[in-house]
Symmetry: D2
Amino acid sequence: MRKLQISVIGYNKDCTENARKVAYEVGKEIAKAEAVLVCGGLGGVMESACRGAKENGGTTVGIIPQEEFSYANQYCDIVVCTGIGYARDFIVASSGDGIIAVGGGVGTLIELGVGYMTKKIIVAMAGSGGVADMYGGKFLDERKRAQIVIAKDAKEAVQVILEKYHNWQKHQ
Amino acid sequence: MRKLQISVIGYNKDCTENARKVAYEVGKEIAKAEAVLVCGGLGGVMESACRGAKENGGTTVGIIPQEEFSYANQYCDIVVCTGIGYARDFIVASSGDGIIAVGGGVGTLIELGVGYMTKKIIVAMAGSGGVADMYGGKFLDERKRAQIVIAKDAKEAVQVILEKYHNWQKHQ
Amino acid sequence: MRKLQISVIGYNKDCTENARKVAYEVGKEIAKAEAVLVCGGLGGVMESACRGAKENGGTTVGIIPQEEFSYANQYCDIVVCTGIGYARDFIVASSGDGIIAVGGGVGTLIELGVGYMTKKIIVAMAGSGGVADMYGGKFLDERKRAQIVIAKDAKEAVQVILEKYHNWQKHQ
Amino acid sequence: MRKLQISVIGYNKDCTENARKVAYEVGKEIAKAEAVLVCGGLGGVMESACRGAKENGGTTVGIIPQEEFSYANQYCDIVVCTGIGYARDFIVASSGDGIIAVGGGVGTLIELGVGYMTKKIIVAMAGSGGVADMYGGKFLDERKRAQIVIAKDAKEAVQVILEKYHNWQKHQ
């Protein structure tokens, strides 16, 4: 049976040191929960989260905008070369059973939007900056489909997704 | 020479009567400015804007998620069948020199995000509801690349885009 | 009512002089038939076909791989900036009621494949070289969905599409 | 370090019994070579190849056209939900260091085209039917970028990719 997949989204370039640390912990907790880490496969939050997962026995998937493998960070076990540019944000968000946001700019907001549209379980890391802090705890539109949950640390973030996911499975 | 292209984004299903009226006026003003109206080609704001343009001598392009022409509203002169689902939001936003938002849910927010990322001129219609009112006047992330301008009516919205576009052209 | 859309596909770089001439005639005949010319918006066959259409009063649409308008050839009335790279081949093929191939390499073959998969009316220009000559008159797979019709000149190519399209419409 | 990724392409619906058997063996040999099996994640050849890999300790990735996980076959360890329809064929082909074709219709031909365009190592299984037999040993266009190699069995197919890949790496 397929393992749970968690997408980690956030800063690429101009990543803060703090967001890197938070992302590393998120990757580590995903690995410890035996879930698969999915991300956009590039630098910053994506790279730190992949490293956190790899150094703790996890599995990592990088879904990159480019067509060539070489653009992916070195901590990706599996690289999906989309070649479709930033429209790959849709695929990163759709390919997680849950989503964790660490900081992030507008690309991360787009991924939050896709997750919200498809009613994913979404968690924003408190204090990680960027759109995670701007939109954490809020609804992205007036339809109020799915609130973005705020988590105080990586352990809680992964826990929220595991619980909601298992509840959801029970009701299928 | 290519004409100016303006993307109109907003509600699809569950469009309010008010947003339809605003969208019609936006389409009409785009036609009067001899610009091409680009949109997602479906119902609600997209349909009303296309109708407004067509009834005033304009040209309309619908970029639809589906692979078959039949999904487009009847006011599209040209239909682009993407077949890539809602990832077509990227293409709608990228294919406008400027963007006008009328109401809208999270799909519209995603389009605003893409426009913001690629530094388009973005205008939100005041009082049109939805994400146009939620995000009008704001920056979508902490990088503050491009403020979403609020326009009080359709004439002003198109005027803002024309002026900014011509200024931008002068500096190329 | 929407006009008929015909996608012209073929060589980009390394276009032969002969293919350019054929493409120009194809664009001209599409314009004379009052259909809209759709293409990939770049050079070679795409540019010549657009020029042929424009110099004969037609309307042209370029669906480009890039995210910026500036990559399109100067004969495109409307530019669709997909930003999804060569996956835009799917959109070029899907957005034609019929398809005309002039020469072409493997990118053109991919577009023929998409047209064949979605049962479009497909015509290959005889003597235009490339995949148009390699696959003209053939079925692309063993399912034999739709034979690629060979046309001796541009007039015949457009005629074949008009006739098949009107027959198809009668049976809807 | 990332493991080698091999994309297996071929029939979905209407898969022959023979192609299923061949696909199973291909999956098995990919697992034995400790490479990752990438595929389109649906039925027929994709499902059999995944099963062959899973029953021999391998890792499998399914890149599906849909937006929901449930469309993937049960032998996928990791599911990438693209939501972009059959344009995902581009991603399946781009995400393999090498490609193995087992039977297949026009969708498989499109994937061969993408592999050919991006100069992947491509192998067609002899006697597996469909486009694998139609195009095996041939060049897809007149540019003759990359010949599609014919392999007599699954062991040879994987061997060809391993050898060519290691040669290619040595020259980087």
